[in-house]
Symmetry: C3
Subunit: 312 residues, 3 copies
């Protein structure tokens, strides 16, 4: 009854190929428009080298060669990103009529994206400053660029968001999920985020696709800006499901703000672990009345924390 | 008093070697059965290439060569996984009598594991569908396979779980901790999980060793399916410490369900941040009465969220 | 109006260089003291190979060559770490008068750091034991070293903390943010942590810069040991903002302990999701009265969990 090693593998290969035919939606064979995750992540890193020059390259940069260096980076980004974008466009329901058309559309998109790089640098400078200003443990802005996960996440998000609004499918999400993997911060590329934005610590943060955030927001670990329910599944695609934060809103750790109609007014402060499903007027501080604490053992406590405003 | 550079290093080497003798349980020297993390992760990726062909390889796949490609992958997996499993078996308390015996047992296990690959593909196809159906932001199933952390985590868990139930020590946990590191989703390889399973966002999810989950579960970020107490430490090994979820249970973000006797009945929905330590009947929706909110500043709120059912 | 491809890139390079001049604080060009993240992470891994020999090397170690192997590692660490530390010292506000001075100071620091390696091994042995003792799912101490994220995080933290107290800027934070990225556990290198320390699961844990923890602490996923407010921003630098935990304190998942004056007494147990902003006496068990649960559907529950003491 036992088949020999080689025969066994051959039989198993047959069964697996049969499974490829049975479940074609989990195969990507004979796909000319197959994306390459590794190239997309490499391009993301190259774009980061353009916007934060000298921090992540293998070699030192100097003024004499910087022009040549940036030129080389841009040519590489333009060439390879155009190829990936053209492939991604094929994934759209309304397929381009021809490879040439997809290619032409991709060139147009990548060109528009690259024009945005100086503006990206300007807004990222405000994010770096916000991280330094907001964290007493920050040593200098170089440290912030080198090692702060919140700065990495917003950098990737701003890059991915530009591609997202230019109509590129899939690639922006691959980029933001890369940042999610490295930082625990899950920002959908569709989210619109104003300048001087700071996420501290960041693990567990979720910011949904249709979230809108004004300038000067400060967000802590474990915060969700989410939807109230997704029972509608794919029928909800495109609808405004996530909240709006006006300028200078602070959201402390573990708070949830939910729903497409929920607006947090200018300067509002949302306390730790608050669960918000309706709008909050500007200038308001909202905190939860913390659940009563129970003590066992030698001593009862006289007083325990009531205020949810804090930072770790 | 100062010794020279070379002498200093020599003295320090001596002190460190002395420390190796003093704390042998944190050394792995002269270990024939030493596992190799990198090889195990590489094997995991190869297995993923078999179950999701064409997504993660460096090259495009095509129908003409797919049979040869899969055959090569399987031979490589069989050869190297058998070696690692044989080494892992030596870690068991009851050591195999000889290297040949360990090798023979490993061959048997890896053979049984590989027979499960077509079934793994079938169940993973339901997981991919569940992710697409459940998330309005999903573009298509390719995007889900490429970039959804919940799909990566359940893929790794299903692979690791097969090895776990075949009695392989250590390797399954190395695999799931790799997924934990990349996704923030911590599923013990012992957990038993039904088909059409979807974890959305996922950062902070913990699913313990003796958890049992039916078909059609939907789990959000920050959910813990855990034990009530582990004061017993190693004495609790093997006992049912984690909950059971019947079919079609939904658990919203931040909820905790705890205890080996806790059963969540079919179709139950557990709201955000709920803390559950007793069984919940089927068809029930459980939510916390959210802690009262306090407002300071210009305006009081008239109404704020009471329902914990939502999704980000 | 359209400029050609080459001309477009040239114009864009010009705009980007202009942006480098406009925002010099987000550029690192012509910086002799530029740190190299990759080298720092590689050094961290080499130091881990010294403290846990034989687990993470590509090759097997044996007693005959271990002395030579450790000697080689130490020489490499000394040489390259000294270079990175010298560069980091230049980032300090009070610049060293000369490169020689920075170099001399770096040699002194690295020498002192290396003297601490045997002591690091001793304390890490207690951490490995704590992880094994504390988790019923742990198979043996090798598994704990190979795959437990909490053990990785405390290993990196103890290494980074030694460099931090020796006055090295930036490098310790790069190390701990690397661990944060891989584990979701965010421990500032300034935190002081006693022996026999165990973080289980760990995703979402935040331990702030001025936290002090005694021996025997056990911490679960999602715990924050944080500051009450950081509105003061950079003005708060250096002040004691984070709590103190005396010996043998347990903090269950999702709990927050906040404030520089908050002291958790010896042997206290803090329940899941508790929010603590004042001191807790030794020997006390504190849990939250869980928010009332609401049920909809077929059946009401008679009893649901009141106790916050558990583990996942």
């Amino acid at each position: 009854m036992q088949d020999s090693g080689k025969k066994k593998i051959d039989r198993l290969v047959g069964e697996i190929l049969e499974s490829y035919r049975e479940f074609p939606q989990t195969c990507s064979i004979d796909m000319k428009y197959r994306l390459n995750n590794e190239i997309i992540i490499d391009l993301l890193e190259k774009i980061r080298c353009v916007v934060f020059p000298g921090y992540f390259e293998a070699k030192n940069l100097n003024q004499d060669t910087i022009e040549y260096h940036v030129g080389e980076l841009l040519e590489d980004i333009q060439y390879r990103l155009t190829k990936q974008v053209a492939k991604a466009l094929y994934h759209k329901a309304e397929l381009p009529a021809s490879e040439q058309e997809a290619r032409a559309k991709a060139e147009e998109i990548v060109s528009a994206f690259m024009e945005r790089l100086p503006a990206l640098r300007s807004i990222l400078a405000t994010d770096v400053q916000a991280a330094y200003d907001g964290d007493p443990a920050a040593f200098n802005t170089d440290e912030v660029i080198f090692s702060y996960p919140g700065v990495f996440a917003i950098t990737v998000n701003r890059i991915a968001h530009e591609l997202h609004i230019l109509g590129v499918p899939m690639i922006p999400r691959i980029m933001t999920e890369h940042a999610h993997s490295l930082t625990g911060i899950d920002i959908h590329p569709g989210a619109t985020i104003g300048s001087y934005f700071f996420i501290d610590h960041g693990t567990g943060v979720v910011i949904g696709e249709t979230t809108e955030i004004g300038t000067g927001a400060k967000i802590y670990q474990g915060v969700t800006l989410g939807a109230l329910s997704t029972r509608g599944g794919q029928n909800l695609r495109g609808s405004k499901r996530h909240p709006t934060l006006e300028d200078n809103v602070t959201v402390y750790s573990g708070a949830s703000i939910l729903g497409g109609g929920t607006v947090i007014g200018e300067g509002a402060v949302i306390g730790s672990n608050a669960f918000i499903t309706s709008s909050v007027p500007g200038g308001t501080r909202v905190s939860i009345k913390n659940p009563e604490l129970q003590f066992k053992g030698r001593v009862r406590m006289t007083e325990l924390g009531q205020e949810g405003f804090w930072k770790g």
